[in-house]
Amino acid sequence: MDERRTALLYAVLAMFLLAVLAWQVPVEGQGNALLSAGRAVVSPVVDGVIGAVDLVRRGWTGYVALVGVRRERDELRARLERLETDVALCDEVRRENDRLREMLDLVRSGAFERALVARVVADLSSGPRNRMLLVDRGRRDGVERGWVAVHRGALVGLVVRAGRRSAEVMTLEDPDAAVAVRHREGRYVGVLHGGGRGAAVVARLDYVPRDRPVVVGDTLVTSGLDGVYPPGLVVGRVRALGGDSPLTWTIRVDLAFTGSTLEEVLLVPPPAPVPRPDDAEDGR
């Protein structure tokens, strides 16, 4: 025990004397050797503490930044969804605007007088044999039975019933529909009957003589000879030629519109009836 104390005493005295010696030895730029040694011993500890504090600080800063980034990401995601919705709405409005502008141009061109733009509010079709649309214009707007529905210059159908605020339009897809047509290039005429046979909505043109020039893709327009539809409206294109008769064609026609895709139609009044000679004489 005494030897240990003596050894400890020696160690303490030796360290003290070394410190005294170090205190006397100058070290350039660092005071003396004792301070230099002290710094050499302490500086790694201080560096470690500073490094640890800096690490914690950077970690905390990074965490806070990450939280901020996450919040910003969520906000941007929500904003992106809103913007995508707005873009979709804007696109829809732009398309609607284009359609309405096209109809408005048609009205301004003088092709139709007293034309009205009507919005398709319902599809009343109950099957291939009943093709009806409901539009939001009625007698209050001047729409009467017999008005013609047009879409982008193509014939859609006929108002068969006019209510106060709405009207029913029988489209050419209906099997009961019929329209006097003219081959645009050949200028010969015929009567086109509505589609509805089976699942396919394809109109047909019967009894066209086989010597008439007609090929698939030819355009048919209204002739106006029926006194119901104004002339010049596009009805459809020739899809196929057929028929059992060796003398005439039965032409299948793709209509120029598809009822299920319509959103607006232009309602135009029927052509004014031409007075017959008897009526003229009566007027005289």
Partner: protein
């Protein structure tokens, strides 16, 4: 060694070293203070040896040293180590005493060189090996004489 004896020997050694240093070339002929410290360690008691070595070295540093504490550390260390060695080796005869003091004196030279190297001190204050060997031999003779004289007076009990 008894305190009364130390009160005589330490000042005497200091005076002798002063005389030697006055002699110019004889400055490093002997280190009487180191001899007193080593002789004190011969009985094998570590703590007294350590304290006497410390006091002797401090006297040397205070009187002649350039770096205070250098001789104190060296003398204290050697006295302490010699006291520990005396616990294992019989240093009661003249020859072992002479060898121990001679070796201790050489070790003092090594320790001083070590301190010079440790603190990057100019080597000027530390004499060369030849001078130190001579001094170690003289120290050994002085130490044997002092130990015999002190033993006869009972100061080494």
């Amino acid at each position: 060694m008894r305190t009364r004896a130390l009160l005589v020997l330490l000042p005497g050694a200091l005076a002798l070293e002063a005389l030697l240093r006055l002699g110019g070339p004889l400055a490093h002929l002997a280190d009487p203070l180191l001899v007193v410290a080593l002789v004190t360690a011969l009985p094998g008691r570590a703590r007294p040896a350590l304290l006497v070595g410390l006091v002797a070295g401090l006297l040397d540093d205070a009187a002649f040293g350039k770096w205070f504490g250098c001789h104190a550390l060296v003398d204290m260390t050697l006295a302490y180590l010699l006291a520990l060695l005396a616990g294992f080796v019989d240093l009661g005869q003249a020859l072992p005493r002479a060898i121990a003091i001679f070796t201790g004196s050489l070790a003092a030279w090594g320790l001083e060189l070590g301190l010079v190297a440790l603190f990057d001190l100019p080597p000027g204050p530390v004499p060369g090996l030849g001078t130190w060997v001579t001094m170690a031999a003289v120290n050994a003779v002085l130490g044997v004489l002092l130990a015999g004289w002190a033993a006869r007076r009972g100061w080494l009990d």
